[in-house]
């Protein structure tokens, strides 16, 4: 069974764990570096990115998370999670994990009264996906290897870059598990990962 972690410092942890379970994988809350062992993939949930970042630093999770990224295993960030993954955060000198080749802008749709839900057309997902945006960031620009999966009102709200998947909205707040399934499909077969010193994504 695939083992998928959810960074469980703060935010919509329970919803992601439930969605993973509903997709037939084993869901593992991650609070400490040791919890990253033996995971096949990791989700960084929605929440408050500044609060999560402080806790990441305090518990020495930054290096283990970057190491995890280096293994080539899939990582998925939703909203605050996307901000944590991004290489560039607009208006900030420093990225958080800085591993996904996108630049994001925080709170770029406005304050809470501007938060909204809307149906989205997403590449690789059949039919509309009802997406919930809460004080959401958006992707301002992407690297060459990054595939844009969804644009809403001229703003990139979902993208994939090699092993990294990120979206501005909260699939975990709906009962629709198609995006979680999409993410789980990014997990390579175990035999692929046994190849020495290479990520299967390095070819992409």
């Amino acid at each position: 069974m695939k083992r998928v972690g959810v960074l469980a410092l703060q935010g919509a942890v329970r919803e992601h764990l439930q969605s993973i379970t509903a997709c037939g994988a084993e869901a593992v809350p991650v609070k400490w570096p040791k919890d990253l062992e033996r995971l096949d993939a990791l989700i960084l949930p929605g929440g408050e990115s500044t609060a999560m970042r402080r806790l990441i630093d305090h518990y020495g999770l930054m290096d283990p998370l970057r190491e995890f990224a280096k293994t080539g295993k899939p990582m998925f960030g939703t909203c605050a999670g996307l901000i944590l993954l991004a290489k560039t955060v607009v208006g900030s000198n420093e990225a958080h994990l800085g591993v996904m080749d996108v630049a994001v802008e925080r709170n770029s749709f406005g304050r809470q009264v501007d938060s909204f839900e809307a149906p989205l057309e997403i590449k690789g997902i059949d039919g509309a996906f009802e997406a919930v945006f809460i004080r959401a960031p958006h992707i301002v620009s992407v690297g060459l290897s990054t595939e844009v999966l969804c644009v809403h009102n001229g703003k990139i709200v979902m993208a994939k870059s090699g092993q990294f998947l990120g979206c501005s909205f909260h699939p975990e707040l709906t009962e629709d598990h198609r995006i979680t399934k999409y993410f789980l499909s990014m997990i390579p077969h175990k035999s692929d990962l046994l190849l020495p010193n290479r990520s299967i994504y390095s070819k992409v």
Binding site: G47, R54, R106, G110, Q112, D114, S115, E117, A118
Partner: protein, 294 residues
């Protein structure tokens, strides 16, 4: 079609706060300290509850200047308090773009009979509750988030514990009931039948429920998490302590790792003096803020 202010959007905002600490602040400087300490949101107000209790008089919505300064100072969500039933204070806060409104018993009620009809607003609301009936009525009016009332400004956790245990015991009872018992329970609690059916089907409250009203130490915050709170509001506990920065950080960490007792022991060391608390029996019945609202 794009929709604003839906239940999912309003309740979802509170879901993003889970496991976090929301701190009362009275100016931009305190807001920055709270954000740096890892608060998931701040509550902008003119006086913290313990000062309101000490000063007496009528407590109202904060001067919009204070709220505005706090909103400019931080990038995390900013909440603000309106008096119970004060439609215009709530509309002013909504117009200012506040992220969440607390219809709060900490302020002097504007209406002793009717709470706000919160589902008429785009901005989400949090409300206090002492039991499942009160929770049901507030959610019925459109609250998107709950918190225990506790007894604000006391630094005494006993009432928050009582309220959280009460709500959770009543939730467990509803879950265990057979469906033909729910209507009578609805009558007894003063809750709607549909609400109790929803609680039973979900196996929990339909919105996030934080602890509030008396949290003064990291151990208090961890206790509320242990008892099943989704997160913690800290009012006077931080900026009325000896060392607000350290208290703020320690309370955030204790909330995240609430079952790591060695860690909580470490981060509680040499914190300095917590706010001076008040024993419940010394508060006259008429001065209990938790009795405000129904």
């Amino acid at each position: 079609m794009t929709q604003h202010g839906t239940d999912r959007v309003k309740r979802g905002m509170a879901e993003m706060q889970k496991g976090g600490v929301i701190m009362d602040v009275v100016n931009a400087e305190q807001a920055r300290i709270a954000e740096a300490a890892g608060a998931t949101a701040v509550m902008a107000l003119e006086r913290v509850p313990s000062d309101i209790r000490r000063d007496g008089g009528v407590a109202r919505m904060a001067d919009p200047r204070i709220t505005e300064e706090v909103m400019k100072a931080v990038s995390i969500p900013v909440m603000a308090k309106a008096r119970i039933g004060h439609i215009v204070e709530a509309r002013i806060l909504e117009a200012m773009g506040v992220d969440y409104i607390d219809e709060s018993e900490v302020l002097t009620p504007a209406d002793e009979e009717f709470h706000l009809l919160k589902n008429q607003y785009t901005v989400p609301f949090v409300c206090g509750c002492r039991n499942l009936g009160e929770a049901a009525r507030r959610i019925g009016e459109g609250a998107s988030m709950l918190r225990t009332k506790g007894e604000p400004g006391t630094g005494n956790i006993v009432e928050a514990v009582r309220h959280l245990r009460q709500v959770n015991a009543e939730v467990r009872k509803v879950i265990a009931m057979s469906e033909d018992e729910l209507m009578t329970e609805a009558r007894n609690l003063g809750a709607s039948y549909e609400f109790l059916k929803e609680v039973k089907n979900l196996g929990r409250l339909p919105v996030v429920n934080f602890a509030a009203g008396g949290v003064a130490t990291p151990a208090d915050a961890a206790l509320m998490m242990e008892l099943g709170a989704d997160g913690v509001f800290v009012g006077s506990g931080i900026f009325k302590s000896d060392n607000p920065e350290r208290f703020a950080r320690a309370i955030v960490e204790a909330t995240t790792h609430y079952q790591d007792y060695k860690l909580i022991a470490e981060l509680s060391k040499d914190l300095g003096i917590a706010m001076k608390g008040i024993e419940m029996s010394t508060i006259a019945a008429g001065e209990r803020m938790q009795e405000r609202g129904w």
